[in-house]
């Protein structure tokens, strides 16, 4: 018996039967490039646009940061890609993330303000203000503690980005409606496809893209960075201010706010720097439940102060001079005040007017003009 022969004839008869059918054939998938509206039966010829895999991106750390700090901490499940960063940038400026399409992340994190804003308390979509000052966003890939917000209550940049969208006094949205608006948009599904290999949008992918963009917000080209590189010199007032900053018997700022070898200019830890004798906002203490954390807040970076006023977690100081006066003569005692706050009974480190002016001149050398004008960070639309 020749089974092969039988098989061939069988196949033949099937195809004969098929071709005898009158239904128009072609590609019936609307998402295909060669979708045929007239075809009623799919003939397996559909062709699709091949979406290339996203291109890996490596953070370029500026000299001082790459020279002295460990590699940036980037979660394994959210590697940086060109497409992910581009999508994150668009989402950062996307008002559709808010319930009434009026505000975006960038409303409270403006590039010209080093990604904070100039309000004491930022106002959300319902015109209600929160009780905390917005925070500048920079060099967050080097925040190895992974804790974000003034009280560190969010873990990871991805985790943080979940919060503002649903926060009732910020974007006051639900993730469900934010995601369906993006899904209905004519551009986003393809952008998600390019960044993450799927055009089905979900909140996890939105926060991943946002986090990728935020990790590229790097500030490392201030006058002081250039001085450390040996590209320029500081004037005598700036140099004197630098010494006051670094001197334990002067301003003693470096213990919490970094130094040339910690060019983040923050320790990213929590301290009570003596703002109040009693607390209306417990800060870190409300997160840990430990009373010895009451009144502690995450140390902010001193980069770009020129753009980030007002200062402190509640935006109480409008100027750098007010901040320096605080450390000099304004300290308030409370039981959790940091031991590095000296001479609390007389109000602080007692800098004379010349020292204060010099300290301010030094702080201003940490201004990075490139950061607030860099076109890679601006609204892409």
């Amino acid at each position: 018996m020749n089974y092969n022969l039988i098989l061939v004839s069988l196949l033949l008869s099937i195809s004969l039967f098929n071709s005898s059918c009158r239904k128009p054939k072609g590609c019936t998938d609307v998402t295909a490039l060669n979708y045929d509206v007239n075809a009623e039966k799919d003939d397996g010829t559909c062709e699709y646009e091949v979406i290339p895999a996203p291109t890996p991106y490596t953070l370029e750390a500026p000299y001082t940061i790459s020279q002295y700090l460990p590699a940036p901490s980037i979660p394994n499940d959210n590697p940086l890609t060109n497409e992910g960063i581009a999508l994150g940038r668009k989402l950062f400026y996307e008002e559709k993330l808010s319930a009434n399409n009026t505000i975006s992340c960038a409303s409270c994190h403006k590039q010209e303000n080093a990604f904070t804003d100039d309000a004491t308390f930022s106002v959300g979509i319902d015109g209600i203000a929160g009780n905390r000052n917005s925070m500048p966003l920079m060099n967050m890939a080097w925040d190895y503690g992974y804790q974000f917000f003034w009280d560190g209550r969010s873990i990871g940049l991805e985790g943080q980005a979940f919060e503002p969208v649903t926060n009732p006094i910020e974007m006051h949205n639900t993730w469900g409606s934010a995601v369906s608006e993006l899904q209905a948009d004519d551009k986003y599904p393809e952008l998600f496809e390019r960044a993450f290999g799927t055009n089905v949008i979900d909140s996890n992918l939105v926060v991943k893209a946002l986090a990728q963009f935020e990790r590229t917000l790097i500030s490392g080209n201030s006058k002081f960075d250039k001085y450390l590189k040996g590209h320029l010199t500081l004037n005598p007032s700036e140099l004197s201010g630098y010494n006051i900053f670094m001197d334990e018997s002067g301003g003693d700022c470096f213990h919490c706010h970094g130094d040339p070898y910690n060019p983040l200019w923050t320790d990213n830890l929590y301290h009570n720097n003596g703002l109040d004798a009693s607390f209306s906002d417990l800060g870190r203490g409300a997160v840990t439940g430990n009373p010895s954390d009451n009144g502690k807040f995450k140390t902010p970076s001193l980069r770009n102060l020129l753009y980030t006023a007002p200062y402190m977690h509640d935006g109480r100081f409008q100027t750098i001079d007010e901040v320096i006066n605080h450390y000099s003569i304004g300290l308030q005692y409370s039981s959790t005040i940091d031991p590095l706050m000296k001479n609390v009974s007389t109000g602080g480190v007692q800098l004379n007017p010349q020292d204060r002016a010099d300290l301010k001149a030094f702080l201003l050398t940490l201004t990075d003009e490139e950061f607030v004008t860099d076109s890679r960070f601006s609204d892409p639309d």
């Binding site: 700090l69 670094m246 018997s249 070898y261 910690n262 031991p339 590095l340 609390v344």
Partner: protein, 287 residues
């Protein structure tokens, strides 16, 4: 140091380098050799043994140092922080709110006069209790046998104490300002105390390079803790730090007078150096 210095870490580095360049089939097939080649099928007679294990005993053990802390004998753990519950030698009540310190270059002194040095450092931080344990590199086989003691360097010696060198310490804001000698802090011990006016006042007991009007003096010291013991198995060696000793011996500490701006004070830095020498003792050795 007077004893033969056998820097095991260095030898391991070398043997790894040999391992990768050696031929795929032939090489040293003795697992106890410093240049043991896991890929080698045929021994080519190139095996090298470091001078200690080479004496015939190739079965080294793995060693870990564990830091334990007490205040005049009672244990100090992170949960003990912030309470005004310690009484120093002068009779001042104080708390501890922060403790971080740096020790480096551990030494194991062998009974036969040799010593084993592990170059490296341990940054002990009460905010991260994992830092209490310091494992010698896993590739390192410490010979079994008799020992007479354990040692290490408080802080960094001059060769190691170079500004900006260690990324993990840089980001921990551990640098010591250049104007008082640069390098790194050796310790940050902070807390509050009840001063002579019964007010609660802060202290920041920071140790590092001693600086006197622009003359900088290295301020590390070597700790050698003598005690005979025999290593026969993987071991955890406990080192005790008695915090009360920082305020006691030979300089009874007056926190009222010396509680802040201690870093730029040469005399005070030298007093800390002197007091530090009696702070450590050897605890149990668990094998």
């Amino acid at each position: 140091m007077k004893n033969t210095k056998i820097i095991i870490a260095g030898i391991i580095g070398l043997s790894l380098a040999f391992g990768t360049t050696s031929c795929k089939k032939k090489g040293c097939t003795d697992a106890d050799a410093t240049n043991y080649d896991a890929n080698a099928k045929k021994d080519d007679g190139t095996c090298e043994f470091d001078t200690i294990t080479g004496h015939g005993d190739h079965n080294g053990v793995h060693v870990m140092m564990k830091m334990e802390h007490n205040y005049g004998g009672s244990s100090v753990m992170p949960a003990d922080f912030d309470d005004l519950k310690y009484l120093n030698d002068k009779g001042t009540t104080h708390s501890i709110t922060k403790l971080q310190y740096l020790i480096s270059d551990f030494v194991l002194y062998k009974a036969d006069g040799d010593s084993i040095v592990v170059e490296g450092y341990n940054f002990v931080d009460f905010d991260n209790t994992n830092s209490f344990a310091y494992s010698f590199p896993t590739e390192m086989h410490v010979p079994i046998g008799g020992y007479t003691g354990v040692g290490f360097t408080w802080g960094f010696d001059e060769a190691d104490n170079t500004s900006g060198t260690y990324a993990d310490l840089n980001v921990a804001s551990w640098s010591w300002p250049a104007m008082i000698g640069g390098g790194y802090h050796f310790m940050k011990l902070e807390g509050k105390f009840i001063d002579s006016n019964t007010d609660t006042t802060a202290f920041a007991f920071h140790n590092g390079t001693a600086s006197n009007n622009g003359n900088h003096e290295a301020n590390h010291f070597y700790v050698k803790l003598n005690q005979s013991f025999t290593l026969s198995n993987d071991a955890s060696i406990n080192l005790n730090m008695d915090l009360s000793e920082w305020f006691k011996n030979p300089n009874q500490w007056d926190l009222d007078a010396l509680h802040d701006m201690l870093m730029p004070n040469y005399t005070v830095q030298k007093m800390m150096n002197a007091n530090g020498r009696s702070v450590f003792s050897l605890g149990s050795i668990v094998q």
